[in-house]
């Protein structure tokens, strides 16, 4: 797992943690039933408070990404990869709308962007 926290990022720290753990699960970097680092371990490694990590884990648990066993720690839930993919797709949609809107300002059309995507794939 690879987590980078940035104080200048607009998202609060706990959100940066949950988003990056979700990404690790979605990309298969974290596997179902894999044990997550303990709250203490992660807070020491990332040099942020345990409360922030606890909050992130709680959110992940409420959203069904992880589950917690008393005394044993938190684990990656056996989550449907299609659901994760659908969520990622929604993120890409938002991102692409932004790119399209910016492109329009410079006279770059959706077709131009499609062409660029094909070129990149061929490289």
């Amino acid at each position: 797992m690879f987590i980078v926290l940035s104080p200048s990022h607009p998202d609060p720290m706990y959100k940066q943690v949950t988003d990056q753990i979700k990404n690790a699960i979605a990309s298969g970097d974290l596997k179902p039933d894999e044990r997550l680092p303990s709250v203490r371990e992660l807070s020491e490694a990332l040099k942020i408070s345990a409360i922030t990590i606890k909050r992130a884990y709680l959110d992940l648990e409420n959203e069904g990404y992880i589950f917690t066993r008393a005394g044993m720690g938190s684990f990656v839930a056996g989550i449907d990869r299609n659901r994760l993919r659908a969520e990622k797709l929604a993120e890409y949609r938002t991102e692409l709308s932004r790119i399209l809107a910016t492109g329009a300002k410079f006279g770059i059309s959706g077709d131009d962007i499609l062409q660029l995507v094909r070129q990149i794939q061929e490289d």
Partner: protein, 290 residues
């Protein structure tokens, strides 16, 4: 580039400390900051540049003139704010201002009192009843009140709250905005000057260890975060100030452009994240690297 201040091999020896061989060229229209740990020689350097103490050897030229034969003329055009400004503590702010006025040819009492009003410092108050921050403000206000072309300030924002600090930084920025005047300041990196300085100098143990344009420095120094195994061991060895931890390590590079190509695939795959280094990180890395 017109120079406003120039120092050549400036040296000051005390029995237990020496400021050694400082050479500087400071242009017009900018803010130049000196940073460094406590005891690095920041105050000694400021005193030498403002000619408050004589140098053991070396030379300073201000406005192209030498203190040797044009001291009064130079000092007339300098606003100097020492770390511990000295006043007649038992006398009022107004008395101290009237005392300072005759030393300067271009005295502007109106500007002084407008500034003191803004800082909510009454001219009737005895200086001994001012807080440390207020004394600094009085000293800054005096420095701004004789149409100086060069301000030299020794930790001007120490002891100020964030609102006053912002106000002082804004005034310093306005002071140099016309491009003809310059601010030279000694400070700590966390005091806000790092935001407005265009040139940064690092002092350590009496030596000038580094001088650079700030933007250039920040373009070169980056913190590289990387997933374990994402960078070759050879590349990792080139990084300093390493922070190793299981969920992504990071280190500083002092030459990002040289690594940019090697890092590109990692950046594209999200296994490498590049962040601007902070000035304090760079300073600490340089001091450790000595």
């Amino acid at each position: 580039m017109t120079l406003i201040l120039e120092a050549r091999n400036l040296t000051k020896r005390y029995h237990d400390f020496a400021l050694k061989d400082i050479s500087l060229e400071i242009p017009c229209g900018c803010i130049v900051a000196f940073f460094g740990p406590i005891g690095a020689g920041k105050t000694t350097l400021m005193r030498l540049l403002a000619h408050q103490i004589p140098a053991s050897s070396g030379a300073v030229q201000v406005f192209g003139l030498s203190y040797d034969n044009r001291e009064k003329e130079i000092k007339n055009r300098i606003g100097y704010v020492p770390q511990e400004p000295s006043f007649y503590a038992d006398r009022s702010v107004g008395f101290n201002a009237r005392f300072a006025a005759p030393f300067f040819a271009r005295w502007d009492g109106g500007a002084l009192y407008r500034m003191l009003d803004e800082f909510k410092i009454s001219r009737e108050t005895a200086v001994k009843h001012l807080s440390r921050g207020q004394r600094t403000l009085l000293s800054i206000a005096l420095a701004f009140s004789h149409e100086a072309d060069l301000l030299m300030l020794d930790e001007p924002t120490a002891g100020l709250d964030i609102i006053l600090r912002r106000a002082i930084l804004e005034r310093l920025r306005q002071f140099v905005a016309g491009g003809e005047r310059t601010v030279v300041v000694a400070s700590h990196i966390t005091d806000g000057l790092e935001e407005i300085a265009e040139y940064v100098n690092f002092l350590d143990e009496g030596k000038l260890v580094f001088q650079s344009e700030k933007d250039e420095l920040l373009a070169r120094w980056k913190r590289i975060h990387f997933r374990e195994g994402a960078l070759s061991p050879d590349l990792v060895r080139q990084l300093t100030d390493m922070r190793m931890q299981p969920f992504g390590s990071s280190g500083l590079t002092r030459d990002f452009s040289a690594l940019r190509e090697q890092l590109a695939p990692g950046i594209a795959s999200g296994d490498v994240v590049v962040e601007n280094a902070r000035l304090d990180e760079v300073l600490i890395a340089m001091l450790k690297g000595e």
